[in-house]
Symmetry: C2
Subunit: 228 residues, 2 copies
């Protein structure tokens, strides 16, 4: 079974990973500071940029390895909320979104898929984590599934025990406000994972979470009563 992976999930010292409010001018809200001390991710491979290959860049380069599909929340796709006013919004990324695979956008307001020449396509789906994952896998051509965030999407999948791997990155900045991955219900999640951490010379700390045990609670993936 293909893995469900989270990559390059940046977290501030006070635990926030996204801004509270997303606007056209501030696509990740006030969380931009998370990236201001960092010199760039190389999501398509360390050879893709003409810059030194640092430890941080090397680790962010896992992002695309063997990935066949991404699942993201609507807030990552665009700043709109509610029903779509028109269909002209095609995401933040212009004519060549960086994904290069199908992307499932979770929204209560489905619309027609959007296709780009570089292999990226957006598929809008109103579904919970299990169904969204099944649909994503049907688009993945056997590849792994990347959970692209935001924090609330990752949290939903963690609660459903559907996450196999997370690469979290602690950034030594303080945001003060924002969206957090964690809540009270998630405190026991850490017991399902083996966690390995290392600090890079830049000051970022990289955390590798690998799932070692599955949850036994009803509703967890593959153990839902009555589900084949």
């Amino acid at each position: 079974m293909s893995k469900v992976r989270v990559h390059n999930f940046f977290v501030s010292l006070d635990g926030y990973s996204a801004g509270e409010t997303i606007t056209l001018d501030e696509p990740i809200g006030k969380a931009a500071r998370l990236f201001s001390k960092y010199d760039g991710r190389v999501i398509h491979g360390v050879d893709a940029v003409d810059e030194p290959i640092t430890l941080d860049r090397a680790l962010t380069s896992m992002w695309g390895q063997g990935i066949g599909v991404e699942i993201m929340g609507r807030g990552k796709f665009g700043p709109q909320t509610g029903a779509w006013g028109d269909d002209e919004w095609r995401g933040w990324w212009g004519d060549a979104p960086p994904f290069r695979t199908p992307v499932v956008v979770l929204t209560h307001h489905p619309r027609d898929p959007i296709h780009f020449d570089n292999g990226t396509s957006f598929h809008f789906l109103d579904a919970g984590p299990e169904d969204a994952l099944a649909h994503a896998r049907s688009l993945a051509d056997g590849g792994d599934v990347r959970l692209g965030g935001g924090p609330s999407v990752v949290r939903q999948f963690l609660k459903a025990d559907l996450v196999d791997f997370m690469h979290l990155v602690t950034v030594p900045v303080v945001l003060g406000v924002g969206g957090s991955l964690w809540d009270d219900e998630l405190t026991e999640i850490q017991d399902r994972f083996t966690v390995e951490s290392a600090t890079s010379p830049s000051g970022l700390t990289h955390h590798f979470w690998n799932r070692t045990a599955r949850s036994r609670r009803p509703g967890a993936h593959g153990q839902r009563p009555g589900t084949a």
Copy 2:
């Protein structure tokens, strides 16, 4: 210009990276201990193995990113020395060598190329570093060049100032004897590089060498008098 990169170059606490003698039974001589405390490289991507994605595995997964060709010494290709007794030896790796690109094998005894179905091919060349690199680039289809070792090959290219990046890994074991990357002539090499190091929870220390300055000595790449 494509980069010349060294990846996953393991070094013992006493500075050795290869065994003194290579035999059929001991392809890397007594240096096997370098790998005995380490749980495996994932050279074709973190998705390629059904194992936890550790920091070490993540870093070794850079090995193939954007690589179009490898250059290796004859000792890495086989244990034979001198003239080829027959042409039956096709490398250590069976019918599917892991390289999946052309490989230039440096030897004073050229022979016909060998091709495999998985994209690997071996090309035997009697040449110094500059000419070997030019030939390798002609086979690389625009990709980067990986220097595959052994230590003496990497040393030759360092002396010719042809190396852009090295990922060295200090392994906390002692070999006692072996082949070393370094010699007296190479002590000033470090001044050409920015070096970044981080220790992983496994005990391996990863060193990232990125070239920041080119040598000015005659004979260095691109500055050879009389070379266009």
